[in-house]
């Protein structure tokens, strides 16, 4: 990926302009139902002690036109929920989300196809669903067919397509509708190598035209290449928002700290277990030793990250 995004020219961002995406104190809580019966009951009466999962916790975020913003965080930190609010699929419990423009999402590329209809018919169907007019779809139709490289297959039912072909069609439709905001969630891992490169080039091209991009990936390197700015989410809260490199280091520091904390807690547990058990404690002690060794490694790693962070900050913000 590195070579693809190298030397790329980014559209300039006017920091004084009105934000194109704005999260104002947004919170979202999912209600988890114990079983189907609970969910059925919730239709008529409010559940008594529901299991609540807070996916977003008082999130404030402003993204301006032309920015490319990366989103980092572990699984279940609220990344997907954040993106869903931007695509307008889900709604906040508290606060407001303002999105000013058309959103295209490279999330689940094959979703929403009607498999009995042909590829061409599906271009139209998808266009209608996304809110395009007939003329607008006609304009992009040939571009999509070209990009997807489906040739004669475009007039065959989608059910006859291979999964790679479906993805290509999905990708081609989403990137060609000229959106104002593009949301990408690790969707680049589709198709064969040649097509992957083509996708990356297309995304780069889109960013260059000044489209706002939100990029979610576990691969920190690709986020760094693509985005100047990144946010770090933990348990639904934005822990850090800044230059991608800095965010990444903050993320690493935080992650190491948490890992050390976890291991320390485990050691405490094991010590308690030793106190209770009489006699054979060797196994426990071995475990403690192993955890201690691991903590040492993590500490070294943590210090390394801290050092890098410090260096980056001195370089980026000047001497202080």
């Amino acid at each position: 990926m590195a070579n693809v995004f190298e030397n790329m020219h980014r559209a300039t961002v006017d920091m004084n302009s009105k934000p194109i995406i704005k999260f104002d104190n947004v919170s979202k809580t999912y209600t988890l139902y114990k079983n189907d019966r609970e969910r059925f009951r919730a239709l008529f009466i409010k559940p008594k002690n529901p299991i609540l999962h807070r996916a977003l916790d008082h999130v404030n975020l402003e993204i301006r036109k032309g920015e490319a913003v990366g989103v980092m965080g572990d699984n279940g930190c609220g990344k997907s929920t954040l993106l869903k609010h931007i695509t307008g699929v889900t709604f906040p419990d508290e606060g407001t989300v303002t999105v000013d423009g058309m959103v295209a999402a490279l999330l689940e590329l094959t979703a929403g196809f009607s498999t009995d209809m042909t590829g061409r018919e599906n271009i139209y169907l998808k266009g209608y669903i996304l809110g395009l007019k007939d003329e607008e779809i006609k304009e992009i139709e040939e571009k999509v067919v070209d990009f997807a490289e489906l040739d004669d297959y475009i007039d065959q039912p989608v059910r006859t397509y291979s999964s790679g072909m479906k993805m290509r069609l999905g990708f081609a439709i989403n990137v060609n509708i000229s959106p104002d905001i593009l949301v990408v969630d690790e969707a680049l891992a589709v198709g064969d190598a040649a097509f992957r490169t083509k996708c990356k080039n297309k995304i780069r091209e889109i960013i260059e035209t000044g489209v706002t991009v939100l990029y979610v990936s576990h691969n920190a390197a690709s986020v760094e290449e693509l985005c100047e700015r990144a946010i770090y989410l933990r348990k639904g809260q934005i822990i850090f928002d800044g230059p991608t490199k800095e965010t990444h280091l903050v993320y690493l520091v935080d992650k190491r700290r948490l890992q050390i904390k976890k291991r320390k807690a485990r050691i405490r547990q094991l010590r308690d277990a030793i106190k209770k058990a009489d006699g054979d404690t060797e196994a426990y002690e071995n475990l403690i030793e192993r955890h201690k060794e691991k903590i040492e490694i993590l500490r070294a790693d943590l210090n390394d990250c801290k050092q890098q962070l410090k260096e980056f900050r001195t370089e980026y913000y000047g001497e202080e």
Partner: protein
């Protein structure tokens, strides 16, 4: 409050505009695509059903081959086939609308969970696609009736009953579709009940010709209003307001279903993406 709720639904439709018709067409294509005789199935299935009922009641139970209808003191006689044909025409639309309408959101889940889509329009364009089929069946029925009973100006009342029927069942699906999105139990319940409702509705028999209090109770079944309404238009040649009790009861129900629909749709709209 209802007005605020309704405004959202109207806005969703206004912004969506012409695309509702295109998506209705797409629904039809989706249903009949891949079948050799394609859209003909829309006629073959009901035709076979009518044949079976006609066979059972006119050939099997020969004593039931004619129906005598009491319309406000005046007696009219029809053969069972004609009587059944007119009554079952709206029934096909109604039973499809109730069972499929309840599934509308669940069966179009990708429109709800993948893109920002005006959800209330789903019920409109699917109903519209069913209405196209209804037009076709009504036309065939009209041709047959023209030969046996003869055309009449009263037939134009179709344009009173049909839109009312369309709206009534769209409003009903505003309640059922979001609720069924939450729980498949409800969906199964509706499908099970509907298979029995047919026999509790005056499609094959005459709901006016029942002993009291059943006769009055039957007036509370809104499906009877349309079944009898189509017969008013095509068989009895009677105006829709002549049987006032039936009309008033129906309009009251219409209003209640409308309010419930608006209420339920707005109550559940924002929760649906999280449970689907």
């Amino acid at each position: 409050m209802i007005i605020v709720f309704l405004r959202d639904i109207i806005k969703e439709h206004k912004d969506f505009g012409k695309r509702i018709f295109v998506l209705a067409k797409t629904e039809l294509i989706k249903t009949y695509k891949g079948a050799v005789i394609g859209p003909l199935w829309a006629v073959v299935k009901p035709a076979f059903q009518i044949f079976v009922y006609w066979f059972a009641f006119s050939v099997g139970l020969r004593t039931l081959s004619t129906v005598k209808v009491d319309i406000g003191g005046e007696f009219l006689k029809f053969d069972r086939f004609t009587f059944l044909l007119v009554g079952i025409t709206p029934w096909f639309f109604i039973s499809e609308s109730i069972t499929k309408g309840a599934k509308d959101i669940r069966s179009h889940r990708q429109y709800v969970t993948k893109v920002n889509f005006p959800v209330s329009t789903i019920m409109t364009f699917t109903s519209l696609s069913r209405l196209y089929v209804h037009f076709l069946i009504t036309f065939i029925m009209f041709v047959i009736i023209s030969f046996s009973v003869g055309p009449s100006w009263y037939n134009l009342q179709f344009f009173f009953y049909m839109p009312l029927m369309f709206l009534f069942f769209v409003f009903l699906s505003w309640s059922t579709a979001p609720m069924c999105a939450f729980s498949p139990d409800l969906e199964n319940a509706i499908v099970s009940i509907m298979s029995g409702i047919f026999w509790l509705t005056g499609v094959i028999y005459d709901s006016y010709n029942l002993p009291e209090p059943l006769k009055t109770i039957m007036l509370f079944n809104p499906i009877n209003f349309f079944v009898n309404g189509y017969r008013n238009a095509f068989l009895y040649h009677r105006m829709f307001y002549e049987y006032t009790t039936e009309l008033v009861i129906f309009l009251a129900e219409f209003f209640i279903i409308f309010l419930l629909g608006v209420y339920n749709y707005n109550r559940l709209r924002k929760k649906i993406p999280d449970v689907l």
